[in-house]
Symmetry: C2
Subunit: 987 residues, 2 copies
Amino acid sequence: MSTMSFSLEPAVYRIGEQLARLSAGRTPTLFERRWWSQTALNLAMQDSAFKTQLFRFIDVLPSVTDDEQVMTLAREYLGDGATPLFVTRWGLKAISATSLGARLSGKAIRSQVEQMARTFIAGATVEEATPRLTDLWQQGRACSVDLLGEATISDREADRYRDRCLEALTLLAQEASVWPSISLLERDHLGPIPRVQLSLKISALSHHLDPIDREGSYRSVAARLRPILDLAMRLPASLIFDMEQADTKTLLIEIFTRLFSEPSYKAYPHAGLALQAYHRETAQDINGLLSWVRQRGVPIAIRLVKGAYWDSDTIRYRQRGWAVPLFEHKVLTDANYESLTHLMLSQSSLIRPAFGTHNLRTLAYIEAVAESLGLPPEAWEYQMIYGMAEPFQHAVTQHGRRLRLYTPVGDLLPGMAYLVRRLLENTSNESFLRKEYVECQTLRTLLAPPVLERLSQKQPFVSQPTRTQEFRNEPQRDFSQADSRMAMQQALTTVRSQLGRQWTSSSEELRLTGPLIESRNPGRPDEVVGRLSGASSDDVEQAVRRAVRAWESWRDTTAERRVEILHTAASLMRTRRDELAAWEILECGKPWREADADLVEAIDFLEFYAADWRRLASPKRLGQEPGELNQRLYSPRGVTAVIAPWNFPLAIPTGMVSAALVTGNSVIFKPSERSPMMGYWLTEILREAGVPEGVLCCLPGGPDIGRALVRHPEIATIVFTGSKDVGLGILKDASTLIPGQQIVKRVLVEMGGKNAIIVDETADLDDAITGVVASFTGYTGQKCSACSRAIVHAAIYDSFLVRLKEAVLSLKVGNPEEPGTQVGPVIDRRAQAKIQDYIEIGKKEARLLMDGTVTGPGWYIGPTVFADVTQTDRVAQEEIFGPILAVMKAASFQEALTLANSTAYALTGGVYSRSPANLELARQRFDVGNLYLNRPITGALVGRQPFGGHRLSGVGAKAGGEEYLTQFVVTRVISEQTLRQGFAPAE
Amino acid sequence: MSTMSFSLEPAVYRIGEQLARLSAGRTPTLFERRWWSQTALNLAMQDSAFKTQLFRFIDVLPSVTDDEQVMTLAREYLGDGATPLFVTRWGLKAISATSLGARLSGKAIRSQVEQMARTFIAGATVEEATPRLTDLWQQGRACSVDLLGEATISDREADRYRDRCLEALTLLAQEASVWPSISLLERDHLGPIPRVQLSLKISALSHHLDPIDREGSYRSVAARLRPILDLAMRLPASLIFDMEQADTKTLLIEIFTRLFSEPSYKAYPHAGLALQAYHRETAQDINGLLSWVRQRGVPIAIRLVKGAYWDSDTIRYRQRGWAVPLFEHKVLTDANYESLTHLMLSQSSLIRPAFGTHNLRTLAYIEAVAESLGLPPEAWEYQMIYGMAEPFQHAVTQHGRRLRLYTPVGDLLPGMAYLVRRLLENTSNESFLRKEYVECQTLRTLLAPPVLERLSQKQPFVSQPTRTQEFRNEPQRDFSQADSRMAMQQALTTVRSQLGRQWTSSSEELRLTGPLIESRNPGRPDEVVGRLSGASSDDVEQAVRRAVRAWESWRDTTAERRVEILHTAASLMRTRRDELAAWEILECGKPWREADADLVEAIDFLEFYAADWRRLASPKRLGQEPGELNQRLYSPRGVTAVIAPWNFPLAIPTGMVSAALVTGNSVIFKPSERSPMMGYWLTEILREAGVPEGVLCCLPGGPDIGRALVRHPEIATIVFTGSKDVGLGILKDASTLIPGQQIVKRVLVEMGGKNAIIVDETADLDDAITGVVASFTGYTGQKCSACSRAIVHAAIYDSFLVRLKEAVLSLKVGNPEEPGTQVGPVIDRRAQAKIQDYIEIGKKEARLLMDGTVTGPGWYIGPTVFADVTQTDRVAQEEIFGPILAVMKAASFQEALTLANSTAYALTGGVYSRSPANLELARQRFDVGNLYLNRPITGALVGRQPFGGHRLSGVGAKAGGEEYLTQFVVTRVISEQTLRQGFAPAE
């Protein structure tokens, strides 16, 4: 490819010069010296911290209705007396004192930002936009209308988007029917093209667009697309699928080809989709589409863009630990764009190529390729964004090329998000427009080819982490990958084939003598998942005796060996990952992703504690004085009892057990009687990894076994995760010295929460509602971190409730073996009954917004929402451990915080807000162990979000944090006098 | 001075060449290629780590009687299969394979080392040595005999040394009477000089040589010196005081001048003392002595040496944080020596100058100065060490100068310590002999003057600490300084003048309504130290309510402000240091140094926790992923109850209270009813430093007040130091949830110990006995860290008991206001009665070795020792908290460890051993919180030896360590999603 590129360079430069001449004397609207935005944008381009604050401020603006509050937020974001440093440091003083400051008012700011938004948005409605579209047509520019909207978080919202599309098509077609005829815009090399084009945001057509669930996603999207398509075919109009985040790319292409293979739509010649040059797979995708088009026999349009989700996709993939599927460097994307230009133009008999670009070099390059292929000018079109790069719009039009403007239509509120993306694009270091119109680079530079050799001198777009960390989180499965989905299906089949078996511990040492424990599938209670021997109280005595004996050599095992065993166990879990997840899906009723997340967390605990113990195991020297050597060492405490819960049946016990083991303690592990199989697997894996007989003993059983362990004089440490009542009982029991006891017991208890999410009036409601729903319904609310209270500012309370209800109504409740299931059953009949009791209590105390009644053979409870809950209501105070949400209204952020803090728990909490001051207040005053800002409140990651609460939520250091392991050891300080006969070792 | 020096250089070089010629063809015995020591010493000179091991091995040898064990120790120190790295790394393979290895046996090693020792020691007894001394005299060399001995740790041993001196003088005089007459050796410029000279180690003449106690030291030393002097005058013989460690220098000079000012000894013309050129004050000391000699009218001898305690003095002063009074660089010492040469030779009408040196340059320099002053050769003498620098001995004798050899006589055991010092001297980088005979430097280099300008290129002898630490331990008072002693006396007078007063809290907030508390002087129980209002249970309720309220603003106070308050409190304590120590002496019966140590520790706690909170207070970022900001923060827990003991009545509560305060908690502080005045002062100081009203409340009172605090629902944290029974009761009480309680109480308890010191058969008994005595009698045994068991290897059990008894018998028990007092009273009648009960128990269980009965009006209990105690005896199991020691016999080190670990406590422990394997075993298996190797087991320093135990000794992190503060906080993790509208702040 690169040799081809080089041979085109003279043509590229010639055409580039020509286009530049045509564009001369014009400035893009955004860079015109019209209003303060120009000053602000200049500042933003000089300073990325200021840019962040400015764009965040612009982002929050539409949600604020009160002028006073606009001023407050302006101060919070852009500084004033409260943060004078900001003002002086970023040179904002200049604006506030002159152009901006003199007439600064909330109203003025709003109107200025609205004006800026209007640069890019043709109108709030199609009616409002049509005069602009007509003007553009008359100037020889076609449009592709994009209906801006909030994120779709419910079926109702998806329906609404469908209806808006239908309306828009009708209106546009009506309007366009009276436009003058312009041949270049109405016909290409393959035939006539409609005057009207609509760009479709497919994710807006379904709340269920989820790559894990191909079939469900297709059904949901296609059902809403068909009426749109039917209409488009009638009018006619062309329809283009916009491309979105990388994880839905394959799904969208699949939907596209499947839909347009349906008999009714197979002959429709005006379908198209956008593809992104920054994606590494795009050439492959185009080739796939070409094959499909050949089969179908009817062409499609392909709009090639560079891609608009680079930052967020890169960040999200990195956060998940997945390989980023996008090119890391802009120059690689540019090169790929040019390469794809060849591919598309050379296949113009099958596709209608459309090129989205605002880059002079790219324009000239496309021209040069087309010229080299001898293509007529109607064989492709350019697409640019409404309001952007007007000089180039002018130039290509003058040059006799077809130009289509991607034209957003919609409200200011969703429009603001669109504005911010455009501003980011224009002000980016890599922006061609910035280079030409702000930095005034030479034409030679601007037209230079994307040279890969320059890469080494370039910074990547986002800086890399600079510290090398020993520990890295295990990535969750990317279920947008077909092989991941197939592996899980396969594992489910394998596990299903073993259901009902009786399992026996591989330990030769101790044969349990208690009653048989039967594990049942919560989704199908008649199905026995597995049978295991339970422990008797005699077994407890035996197990402790063996553990004491085994400890003698285990504590002398080297730290390296113990660390190695944890790494081995992690490897075994990785190898058996899908199978273990499948067991968990069947034993605990977890949806796929939740089960996979539990596996990931278990692996993380093993790797994190292994790495952390390596850090802690070697003696640390204290002080630097000569003649004395003071060292701090850690020694194991003794036998540890681990009393584990069922809700994270692998991860939580893995963390507790492995922490105790790696630090040199022996362990008696009582898995929950609700998840004995997962306890069995954990024990087997640790044994296989090398934990010696006696050092780890698994005693499946109920509360009596737990009590016997807690009261045993030779148990040095007790680690419990479960309910508050049991936890407090353990604390009390363990504090009484028993004859023969040699150490004060250490008790680590994690006891639950009554976790609140505060949503203030500046919150991004799309995010807030999604976050609240995910946090209260994830694993059917059976997480100690789950949200059970939403405290919502009065100003948005009603609209919050409306959208919340729609979102909850749209959840898929059902069998967790189905990949599309969002909410499965609860763990058992007892849990179901308790939750149902609370629902009855709630009905008396508050207003039932959503009734979660679900019928079925399994232990189902659908997500249930109470509104107008007050602080003292039981549903606002007591942990329910089910998908029950209490929504409370607060008059102010301060009141919301007071409400949030008004339980005895302090585990997790969340805030959705775009007010820096409120976020800061929450940092200081929201009294929880794990506070989440602008994100869901479950899913703490080992190492990054060490997990645990205080008050009556727990005692002990956070799991997955660097203070955790020291709880399993005693600290010894050894001080040696090294001075002997007047001499000490040289230091 | 330096100009004088320079003008002497031609003469120095001329004479140096002449002396070098006279010494030519000879090698110092030590560097002769006679036996393996030469190889070993060469290796040692190349590698300091090997040198340490080799010299340590040599040091331990005499204590080992068994050949097998010699081999074992050789392997432990010098490596074998167990530590192959050592062998290969240090090239020891070479020796062990060839010269050493082939015929390596315990016996061979012993005899080789003994042979090496014999190089430096003229004989085990004076009888054995006299033939050598006679030979030397006949070769024209006089002697100064030095009687080697163990350290004197009892009066009996001091008497023994006195007797040995008397015997030696008699024998030597007898022998010398038949020596031929040698004029140069028998007459100097001031008259006749005796044939016999004895060098006296003054510290061997008294166990009580202690600069804090001038008068007591003088009485004790002078009483034993007088008979020696009387004899020396009769014979006649000359007597020279050796100079020792820097902290006794001034005391020794005082003793010298005071004794020789006594009428009986005023005319004695053969007294002398050694002075050290490495000491910065020596010129001043010589001038002081010259004035005194002028008054006295009779000359003295001054032996100028460079000084032999540089390493140990430097290390000990640094460890204490005191300014080192010695020159840091050898070149400065050399320059000072030359400068002092001028001073001494120019005053030879008043003093008999003697120059101790083995340095050719120095010899030549002295000659040059004497020549320039025109002194006759008999006006000064040279002193060299027997067995060292024989070529120079030869040269100066040939040159017609008087030479006296410093000649040690004594057993191999104390002799080995002497040998090691000589080996260190010879193998040091700075050793002239090494430079000439091993490194073969040129004569020009060897004779070059000590040039100060070269300093910058030189390394100091001991490397400096490389890390800058924010925290530095406050130095204890150096009571060898007269002004320190005077300040304390003055403070005692001031405090005495205030005894009996009633004190009122400066707090305006809470007037206590409980009964009046009277504090009494344990040394004089009829003396009321002070009166204070006690708290009632109503007051507890009030105080907690106020503390909860005050917490609201205190927790919001910046970390900087709280840190600043601690620093201010530390400054206030420094300012009022002697006064506070005086209060403690009177209220708690602590001897001066113990009271001062408590002040120091209190200051350390304030400074350490301040520095540590500065480290911890700022949020810590977790993970490096883009788009998310995870931070760990610490928030205060709430109201903290501090229930404090009386035995460290300032330090311990200062630590507990300041840790709670600096982390943002409010504090209710209950000082012990046995030390209410110290509690009062602490509270006043913290208030004065800026702790706001309500944030700190002092409630003096008894157990009822403690109980009320423990059971209060609004107390979040309880910090207790005291007895095991009370501690366990608190743990139990606090674990029951009380209605209204909002947080699980955290209880930090420090509960005591039954601490053992193991003394194995390789131990340095001088150190071991001193260490055991200090550890069990310090503050009359009333420290939780105190030793209460000594576990002694059977091989040395009997000799240990004999010396231990003598050492204990020699302790000064009495009024702690007297600076010389080593053991004061116990705290009160109750404590005395309890200890007396245990003495009665012990008498039934074991053999009473030392009865500590002391009569007196105060609550005295003298140090009491039981021998043959067995594991199950109550005196071996129960904490007595008094100066009671149980001595137990162990057949092996392993058994000793088992015995040591056989109590329910695990606080402190100690080992005296010179077996690396045993020390390593102790590191692994001695199950205590603070283990001390080859040093006393009390006196843990903040930061360097964080303090605390486990098992039933305590719960919680170590005080004065970097894990302590986190106990007073809850950990909060805040995770912000920073990605908004597709962009995140640049990282």
